[in-house]
Symmetry: C2
């Protein structure tokens, strides 16, 4: 992609309400554009990042034999009345309004009711179970105060997965498998996640876990051990800072954290509320148990930036970077065009700064945008190119062939 | 994919309000599930079809150097007041409501206002132009009466593209390029499209074209020539059935048609309403011209089924089929499992009917679902498999290797 054709510009000013690095750099770098508080456009580079993370999520969900589909955002009131959530737990956060014919409508903040309605009409026996489905799409929450860029949105991108079982044992097995899948997703995104017991919340009173990433930009507080994986929500923990870790005896720490995932066991709540039953292998009618598993894809973008940045801008981990290489031409367009062509032919994703602006502006933008490999072509580089990793100060000269070999390793 | 794990079932009953083949077969075949009139879940097989069509669209849009991004569904009133469409052209079809703080909100039926707001803040000179961006996402329309399955929805999937130019000549060039790209999309989906001059409509009074596919399930009427590509909307045509085609002198026909795309030249309307100007190469301030280009992805699914079906079910064109091969085991699971493994290792998308039901039920479902190649393994097929194309009555025996060679040709 030619940077001259990337229609949005980097911004010198950070958004006036920006308190976090992710909010500041995602807006200034041209990744997102705010329509109103908590509602953003994912600009082409931001959309690239969203797609990379979504594909990481898809691989892990598919490994757990979950099927992808897509449910609607528009909701009819009926199914939500069955579970009491229209007037209950979701009445505050669900956008609710009337259509032209005066019928109550809502916008989905979650999809348990929709999926369970499909399941009760399709699942008849143990032969159909267990199974899991998921979707990736925008969700809506009627937040009174939305702020922090992609951290807490009114419209935000989620992966939500729902699994169905005929026994608690079967549900437990899948739930544990999903915990591992979630850890894999975060690890591939360069994040170290802690699994903590959730303290309830609006969606369920049952068994539930949160995935937390330690970060000063977080809204939660956890007590955690950085020697082992022990962690608890500060609100419900009986331990405090300095206490010995119950698992490994190291000294416990406390810190702010970002919730990047949340999983729930609903057990037979939906079977009871919405009448979902199937026969087991003995012909006995049993409730269809459900669990839900959510990852905030857009929040994950922000979380990654919170962890990977410096004063100049973003430092994307390679797996989620919008491009792998940032090629800068310092008035050497003939050479640079040649390298741009070679890199693309090799299937390497490259952003090519072909703009007629100063070297200083190009370097500043490159640091802000944060693509892993910066590749400079100037009058000083001769038949070589200057390579610098975004997370490293050392630059080195090498031929384009050597570079391609290096990054394909 | 094992059919035993495909959690939704085919249905014996067609939806009670179904008048069109696409509505009937997409629901009965397990492609979509209705939440309310005009609002559907795309079930796993339906989602497969949506993805295939979306990827065909992406290839053609990318060829026209358009960039993909994603704009939000939630809309703030302000930008829509600038163009007068909040109370005007879109007040009926846009879902409009208030959020918790009493602020006016809408759900996007289209995105001209959002994209133009981004453009006026980013595009400063001729160097930034022309350019085009697009997105694929669900749109919303507050329809009083939604019916016909995916044909006219309250929530439906669209590809919308917006192009920006500094001169009418430049806009015309891109507009023509896009007409060709649209024709390519429909052709790849197996549809013969007619380009007709549009008769206005709610979005614009300016230059506009519709893409129409002849079908009895359509809501529009066109006068067309089936010898050449001449066509006009019946409402505005000065010709009638039997008249000579003005292009090739063949006899004109009249027929119902489905609108599968719509493109508009807004000219400088948005530049005037929303104040979007850029300097040309002489330093003169000029209006940034805009055109919009829409394809209804979900309506396209229905249109394809209207054209490709018989009394038993759907007959998917290969390019958009949810799977390429439907493998049916008639009590020969050992052999079938082997073939299932081989086909998947060859990268062929296969739905494997491993269910413990009668041969008759399997054949009926295969015809309903409509996957291009049916492959039967029974006690009669020996070390071969029986191949039948969905659009052909002739079955033939061949080895699995011969079959793989054949479909990879």
């Amino acid at each position: 992609m030619r940077q001259s054709k990337l229609f949005t510009k980097t911004l010198k000013q950070s958004p006036k309400d920006a308190v976090s690095a992710s909010h500041k750099f995602l807006v200034q770098g041209g990744y997102v554009d705010m329509l109103m508080a908590g509602v953003y456009t994912y600009l082409p580079m931001g959309w690239n990042v969203i797609r990379k993370i979504s594909d990481i999520v898809r691989v892990e969900m598919n490994k757990c034999e979950a099927q992808e589909m897509l449910m609607p955002a528009l909701q009819s009131r009926g199914i939500w009345d069955e579970t009491g959530r229209w007037d209950g737990a979701l009445s505050d956060v669900m956008y609710q309004f009337k259509d032209r014919s005066g019928k109550d409508m809502g916008l989905a903040a979650t999809h348990e009711e929709v999926i369970y309605d499909i399941v009760r009409r399709n699942i008849m026996s143990y032969k159909d179970l267990p199974f899991a489905i998921y979707q990736i799409q925008n969700k809506f929450r009627n937040e009174l105060r939305a702020k922090g860029g992609l951290m807490r949105g009114r419209e935000f991108m989620m992966k939500d997965l729902y699994s169905f079982h005929l026994s608690q044992e079967d549900l437990d097995v899948y739930y544990d498998k999903m915990i591992q899948a979630y850890k894999n997703v975060y690890a591939k995104c360069g994040l170290d996640s802690k699994v903590v017991e959730a303290s309830g919340g609006m969606f369920t009173e049952k068994y539930s876990h949160e995935f937390q990433v330690i970060s000063d930009a977080g809204e939660d507080n956890i007590i955690y051990c950085d020697t082992c994986d022990y962690a608890q929500n500060s609100e419900i923990s009986k331990f405090k800072v300095g206490d010995k870790c119950p698992k490994c005896s190291a000294s416990l720490k406390e810190g702010k954290s970002i919730e990047v995932g949340n999983i729930f066991q609903f057990g037979d709540k939906y079977a009871k509320d919405m009448k979902g039953y199937a026969t087991d292998s003995d012909g006995v009618k049993k409730p269809i148990l459900m669990a839900s598993y959510g990852i905030g894809i857009s929040r994950l973008v922000a979380t990654i930036v919170e962890k990977y940045h410096d004063d100049q801008g973003i430092i994307w981990p390679e797996a989620v970077a919008p491009f792998k290489v940032h090629l800068l031409s310092l008035k050497q367009n003939e050479e640079a065009e040649k390298y741009y062509k070679i890199l693309r032919e090799e299937g390497i994703e490259v952003l090519y700064d072909d703009r007629d602006i100063s070297a200083g502006e190009k370097f500043t933008d490159a640091d802000l945008i944060g693509i892993p490999f910066r590749l400079v072509v100037s009058s000083k580089t001769g038949d070589k190119v200057e390579i610098k990793k975004r997370d490293n100060d050392k630059a080195e000269l090498m031929s384009i062939e050597e570079f391609i070999k290096k990054i394909k390793e």
